[in-house]
Amino acid sequence: MPLSLPSRRSLALVWALALALLTAALMLRLSGSVFDSSILALLPEDQQAPLVARASDRMDEFVANRVLLLVGGSRADRPELSGLAEDIARQLSETGVFSRIQARAEADWWLSMGRLYQPYHYQLLTDDVRQRLAGGQGNALVAEAARGLVSPASGPHPAPLLDDPLNLLGHWLRSLDPGGGFQLDQQGLFVTDSDRHYRVITAVIKQDPFDQATQKRVLAAVAEADARVSDSAVASELLRSGLVFHAAAGASQARAELSTIGVGSLIAILLLLWWQFRSVSYLLLPVLSIGCGLLVALSVSLVVFERVHLVTLAFGASLVGVSVDYAFHYLCHVRYQGGAGVRRILPGITLGLLSSCLAYGAQALTPFPGLQQIALFSAAGLIGAWLTVVLWFPVFGRWLPARRTEGWLGRGLVSVARLKKPLVVVLAGLLALALYGLPGVVFDDSLGALQSSPESLLRQEQRIQSLSENPGSARFLLIRGNSAQQVLEREERARLGLDQLVRQGRLDAYRAVSGFAPSIDRQQKDRQRVAEQVYQAGLPERLFQSVGMSGELAGRSEARFRAAEPRWLRPSELADAPVGELLSAQWLEPLPGSEEVASLITLGGAADRQVYLQLAELADGIDGVRFVDRVERTSDLLAGYRATVSQWTALAYALVLLVLFFRYGRGCWRVILPPALATLMTLGLLSVMGLPLNLFNLLAALLILGIGLDIGIFVRESGGQLHAWEAVTLSALTSLLAFGLLALSETPVLHHFGMTVLPGIGLAWLIAFVLGSGALAGSRVSKGS
């Protein structure tokens, strides 16, 4: 029933008010941080996850702001390299981008660590010393200490001789790792690899490494350092590692692609629409409906969800490709039929909306927050665009000039319709090829497949990892307990297994807080060992006698030991030590209202993937210990999403089919076939091309379903009229331009998406055209009215 103009106007006004309210709500929310980029935010809720997330965040926080530069050259040029590294560090600090730069050693590293441990030297034993004492090899320790007393090349003896005759504290200090797997000399941190020598510069970025201005300044500063290295006669390379480099590379790639692919496709779409409609008002209306759709989608999502994930935004925005269908359908209709009303197209676009909402909305029922968000975002956006078309377009549409002639597109379609036979042959050929490929479809959910950092950056990163045995933040052991001591004891149990892996050469290294502050239990036991296996066993006496000193000294030494009141070292005392910063990244204090303490043991490189299984097994065997593999977890997550999306896509097809059956009866297959067959063919063709599939191909398949359905429904509802074909063809073309061109992207996620949309929508259109363009082939192209 056609509405009167005044009631149309008041409805349009109501929609305007609703949009104004939504805009206000959105503005309020946008002030805070509402976008999530952590992949963990997409994980389904799980009992352990909050702590894992906290631990991961802590690692990220620590890793994100750090930059590691290695100045490398020949080993023979070591002093010159160290001078150069110092110059570069000075130059970097002058830029003001970094809060802390370190090329020189903290000269007092050994000294201050020695001072820290000095009061506890009777209770800190290295594994090696403990084993030698237990194995009755005390004499070897005595001989070593004796050599230390007379030999000019022994290590430092940090505690007074009488307090620590066997230099146990010296053994302890030497067993420590001064900095992230690097070595320490008078000039600072370094690492050596056969005849190569690298000086290490560590820097901490002052501001947010994801901020574009910060990235620019960091890159400029490092470029200067690079120039210094190229000018230098001794240094031959500058290796860099740091999240900021990857973030900057990603951002600059995204910017470059936005300005080429993005702007390119936008211009192409505008040209296409201009060519078709030759009127600015025809261009403005689709933009209006898309804009309102996005506005509704974003504000509704933010009302329901606290934060919206960036993945949601990216894929939710692809609904634009679907929502613009309603606007095109209206415009093509108005252009031929005149009159501003939506009555004639209302059934078509409403059925389109209903089926698309079913297709997207079904995912709201899955347990994955990411899919729930995409479902809501898409459904809200489509409803917003539909309301805009239905409520506003009749009001604005009166100013649209009617043409009543086919545009170039209509004429083109009519000509193509006459080539039906060749089209069928092409389609059949493609179908045969796709069917051939379909059984060979493979899936690859690994995170690596989505890695988009430049090759050279990844190579440098790997090189530094292998040089430093530096732990990555992607895998670690998470240890939880009800007290700090329980956590330390559990760490020590886990370390037995880790030590074995290190001895077997399966694991490069690891770092644990208990390696710097053993549990009190262990300190007590070690003190007992010292009492029995050092003093009662008479080792000090043997030592003093062997170097010709008075045996009476041993008595004095033992008296000192007896007199020393034991105090126990706790992790909190490491806070101000040179390793404090490293360790604080690995220690999680209890949250308010909780007793639970947790720690992380960071892991160096592993020999192969089997090690991860061993680590998981090791963790399973100890209470409160868990192996967190964020790479695996993310890949599992992507695989889970993929499986869920494919199941729900199947369900969405079933639901849509049901709705279509009510409307069209047995003829419904003509509507559902184009998207269904196009999707299957696309997957088959991708397989023929040897491309493995992941979540993002399947998300693209949902877009094919949305647009493919609209093609079928609009054509069917209009009885195959030319204006409907023009509308769906425009929609297909714009979607191809907007999303298909993403196939050119170097960003893997976007590339996968584009590679699916491009053939998918093309095929959906082609199948629908072959099935339903019969009426067109016979139609005469009119020359004017």
């Binding site: 070591r78 002093p79 050693a105 000269a107 007092d108 050994w110 000294l111 001989a143 070593e144 004796a146 050599r147 230390g148 007393l149 007379v150 030999s151 000019p152 090349a153 022994s154 290590g155 430092p156 003896h157 007074p160 001789l161 009488l162 030497r174 070595q183 320490l184 000399d185 008078q186 370094f190 050596t192 062997s546 170097v547 010709g548 000193m549 008075s550 000294l553």
Partner: protein, 198 residues
Amino acid sequence: MRAFFLIVALGIAGVAPAWGAESTGQGTSADSLEALLGDQGQVDHLEGRFEQSKYIADLETTLDSSGRFRFDAKQGLQWQILEPVPTQLRITPTEIIEEQDGEEVMRMDVDEQPMTRAISEVFFAIFGGDWDKLTERFRVESLTADSGWHFRLDPRGELLKSYLDTIELQGTDYLETLILSESNGDRTRIQLSNVVTR
């Protein structure tokens, strides 16, 4: 201990000086040192006996050791302790090897520990006549002596300073005595004798 080794190296270099002639700007200049030491000529090889007496402040006692040393420009330094614990030490520009009872008990890359590299570098640089290297690490001060020469080295680097207060060198024709004062109060006196050069 480290610093002690350093002084051994320096001491021997003192007997076989081939100083460069550049002014250091601080302490005694290279010129005056050269003048002080006289022309002792280039030495490729030297060996002799040493007596070491180390005062350990904490124990208020003295630890004596003695043995033989031999330096060869090609093979590096051998420091052979005969009493009280027979131990042999070999230092090359890249490695330090410690042997006891003919068995290798320690082999250390000079890179492996802080200071070791510096020590090895200083030693070989001095023997090669690189005065700049020495003044990079130490401030050199000449002290008055009745006969022969006597001077004192003060470390510049923080790390070295944390172990070592001063090194004193005395000699007439060759280096005879060196005294090393560590920051913990220990004092090591090394007396060289029967020095033979080739």
